[in-house]
């Protein structure tokens, strides 16, 4: 199964788009916001946690439909489904590869983009922590959505529609953790909820996603 993770990462690096696309999109969102809401740093600083979380979420969404589509087209998915490794493991590795190529770079880039939005200095730590806790859930939920729509010709828009409401709790707790942390309020609850969502999705969604893939390959 590690072989699958390594292959997917190698493919992402060689195809070029893997790491760059999500990051570039994140940068674009964050750069555009001040043009839309005006340059006052007081306003930017107040909305920065939300913008950064929404930007990271959208950047995640952007690359979801490629999780299974390429493997479906070239027949790899059929072969993986008949291979001796469990399909649940395949799904988990796919989600892991997606996180390493999008969630992780987004988490690392977020403080730099926080500067552009005059993020409160107290918030940087919470921002990185909340993204590190929350983005694995985004990848796993997205992998589930990609598994549901894997055989469909125009699955991209549908995938976004399916995944969007599933992302809401993660977004709320993630952004809330940063806001409360920056304001010096207690933010253990949202952080714990965020960690709980991530653990629960990692534990349960691979089964749902593998079931969806089996149905789609029939």
């Amino acid at each position: 199964m590690i072989a699958l993770l390594i292959r997917d990462l190698a493919l992402a690096i060689r195809a070029g788009g893997g790491f760059g696309l999500g990051l570039a999109f994140f940068l674009i969102v964050v750069v555009l916001v001040p043009f839309g809401v005006g340059p006052e740093s007081a306003i930017l600083s107040r909305i920065a946690p939300g913008i950064l979380w929404v930007g990271a979420l959208l950047a995640c969404l952007l690359s979801l439909d490629r999780i299974f589509a390429l493997d479906f087209e070239d027949g790899s998915l059929d072969l993986l489904a008949t291979a001796p490794i469990p399909l649940e493991g395949v799904v988990a590795m796919k989600a892991a590869a997606h996180w390493v190529t999008t969630g992780l770079p987004l988490t690392l880039a977020a403080p730099g983009l926080g500067l552009l939005l005059s993020l409160d200095p107290a918030a940087y730590g919470w921002l990185v922590l909340s993204l590190a806790l929350g983005t694995p859930a985004l990848s796993m939920i997205g992998t589930f959505g990609a598994a549901l729509t894997v055989g469909l010709k125009r699955g991209g828009l549908l995938l976004s529609l399916l995944v969007l409401p599933l992302y809401v709790p993660t977004l709320i707790f993630g952004a809330e953790a940063v806001v409360r942390g920056a304001a010096g309020q207690a933010n253990a609850t949202p952080l714990l909820m965020l960690a709980g969502i991530t653990l629960a999705t990692l534990a349960l969604l691979p089964f749902a996603a593998a079931a969806a893939i089996r149905i789609n390959l029939r």
Partner: protein, 242 residues
């Protein structure tokens, strides 16, 4: 005879045909009685003025918006466990009804909110939850429409319904945590009937009954349509093979 026999398409078609006229009749009767009673024959409430009359649409619609999703969840589980086609098709048939109920609850809520809170839309926990429910309905219906193979569509939408239910509950909690809100508490819900005067409560009860009947009638009617559509598909495929 076991209850599961009604999950047989033929048995379902016979039974539903026999009971549907009565259900439609009862629906029309209770809807007219409830709404006329509520609209014409109830006084104004102290804090709400005449806007209290919106309750006879808002509360039953909100109740059915949630109950329709619960019914879809149960039907999806039955399909996944016992593979009864009628169950899967009933879930499909219920989704647009649930979506309409959600829209009614949202729209009447917004119209009611304007005079009461001074705004059509507030990111109040209950309103937000219904907006999220609206998105779930849209996604569910879109997934049904997108998949050609009917059994695969039934399987995948069932999985989505189950996973979606868990996330819907989680969203409810998250949204509550995120904003405490302006909405009336449980004064307007069924479990706290002592908080609402009988003069409003009785017509409301009739309206809730009417909405339940309407839901049952629509789901039976639409499930019959789905079963027929399935049969058309099978017969045409057979013609092509012959």
């Amino acid at each position: 005879m076991s209850l599961w026999e009604y999950a047989n398409p033929k048995k379902f078609m016979q039974t539903s045909q026999a009971v549907l006229p009565a259900i439609w009749g009862l629906t029309a009767l209770s809807m007219v009685v409830g709404l006329v009673w509520g609209f014409f024959l109830t006084p104004e409430a102290e804090n709400f003025g005449s806007t209290v009359k919106i309750i006879y649409l808002h509360v039953p619609a909100a109740m059915m918006a949630i109950n329709a999703w619960v019914m879809m969840l149960v039907a999806s589980l039955i399909w996944l466990v016992r593979r009864h086609h009628v169950s899967a098709l009933a879930a499909r048939a219920a989704a647009p009804v649930g979506l309409t109920m959600t829209v009614i609850a949202l729209v009447t809520g917004a119209i009611w909110g304007e005079p009461m809170w001074g705004t059509y839309w507030a990111w109040d926990p209950r309103l937000t939850s219904f907006l999220i429910l609206f998105l779930f309905y849209l996604g569910y219906i879109a997934l049904w429409e997108a998949i050609e193979n009917p059994d695969a569509a039934a399987d995948l939408t069932s999985v989505l319904c189950i996973v979606g239910s868990v996330f819907a509950l989680l969203s409810r909690y998250a949204v509550n945590f995120w904003n405490q809100g302006l909405h009336q508490g449980a004064t307007l819900s069924m479990d706290k009937q002592e908080n609402i005067a009988n003069v409003f409560w009785f017509p409301l009860l009739v309206c809730m009954g009417a909405f339940i009947l309407l839901f049952v009638a629509l789901v039976l009617e639409r499930t019959r349509t789905e079963i027929r559509a399935r049969r058309i598909k099978a017969l045409i495929a057979r013609e092509r093979m012959a």
